[in-house]
Amino acid sequence: MENLVNIFVKSIFVDNMIFAYFLGMCSYLAVSKTVKTSTGLGLAVVFVLGITVPINYLIHNYVLKEGALTWISPQYADVDLSFLSFILFIAVIASMVQLVEMVIEKFSPTLYSNLGIFLPLIAVNCSILGGSLFMQERAYNTLAEATVFGLGSGVGWFLAIIGIAAIREKIRYSNVPAPLRGLGITFIITGLMGIAFMGFMGIKL
């Protein structure tokens, strides 16, 4: 249990998707103009990361990893399919996004109208594939750990985009040098927020 909390906190603050790895920057920069839309996208990311990372964890451990196929028959013990991981992970993500979209549309129209347009965008959000690849690289031991890692990364991304959106709403009233307006200042602010987040480095529960 302690271990899970540790992974959760670490993936939110220390290994933050945006500030430490720059994942999902494209939509982060494009959508963060107002807090309201950022909330929608942020929630969608948390949601999709929380689903795809555990699924890809199962695929990695029961299909792709070296010796993962032994549950079918011991003679597959030295089959190593991990070179297929990119293509399988992205297929899982693209189809999960589609599936999640349909399920939400059916059961919760309000949530759907909030997330609606953002869900398809998420298939190509690097933070989603990044979450799965980091899960593979760091070799988490249990399904629970992988799930918590996925959720934590999503929450970290959520926090980052809300923060930058709030700052961008305010910065509209300040006198930014013309060439720096818009994109330039957003980059520099993100850098400064990243420096602040570095203060969390080394936290261990």
Partner: protein, 217 residues
């Protein structure tokens, strides 16, 4: 193909190649492909390897998608494009692991993340799906080069100030260190990559005034 009517390197085609280097640079103007651009630019060498990989993937995938453009049903085009890109990226990944193992270790997951690099999907959607193979190829190469250019600049700056080396060779002379010069460790950390790109954008827009954004953005 278009060669019947216009020469292979007509001015229109050259424009496809040249424009992304400055006026419509994928990173600083179109805001595509930032994700992988920043994380691997601590040193010059991985930046160059990354830039070359993206040139390869973009050039080939633009041609493939452009050849298939009449065959792909529009509803499933995203998955088809992702499959094309992912297969190429697997090639790059295996190639790097075989011939440049050290660099491939440094790049770690970021080779895989070329798949979701928005610049590739973005150009496929915006250009290759509605154009012939040869212009698509030039567009892909041009955009990847514009992306690579920024990558190399950021990698150069960060390695020079962060470790005092370029391509692993010591550039800052020894006497400077004994006189009290210290490498700026902040440049190695992620936030400085963002600030560096911010400054590049600043300089570019200062020189190229038409790129300046309106106040209400």
């Amino acid at each position: 193909m278009s060669q019947d009517r216009e020469p292979l390197f007509s001015s229109k085609n050259m424009k496809l190649l040249r424009e992304p280097l400055d006026d419509s640079n994928p990173i600083t103007v179109q805001v595509l492909g930032i994700c992988s651009a920043l994380a691997i630019t601590v040193k010059l060498e991985p930046s160059v390897v990354m830039a070359l990989s993206v040139v390869f993937v973009m050039g080939v995938s633009n041609v493939v998608v452009s050849l298939l453009r009449t065959k792909i049903p529009p509803r499933i085009r995203i998955i088809v494009q992702l499959t094309v890109i992912a297969s190429l990226v697997i090639l790059v990944d295996e190639f790097l692991a075989a011939f440049a193992y050290e660099v491939s270790k440094q790049l770690s997951v970021f080779v895989g993340l070329i798949i979701t690099n928005c610049i590739i999907m973005g150009r496929l959607e915006a250009f290759a799906l509605s154009n012939k193979p040869w212009p698509s190829f030039l567009d892909g190469i041009g955009n990847a080069a514009g992306y690579g250019l920024i990558l190399v600049i950021v990698g150069f700056v960060r390695e020079l100030f962060g470790s005092g080396t370029i391509w692993g060779y010591q550039v800052v002379p020894e006497p400077a260190y004994s006189a009290g010069y210290v490498d700026n460790g902040l440049f190695i950390l992620p936030p400085m990559a963002l600030v560096t790109v911010g400054i590049i954008i600043w300089v570019q827009r200062y020189r190229n005034r038409k790129l300046i954004e309106e106040q209400q953005s």
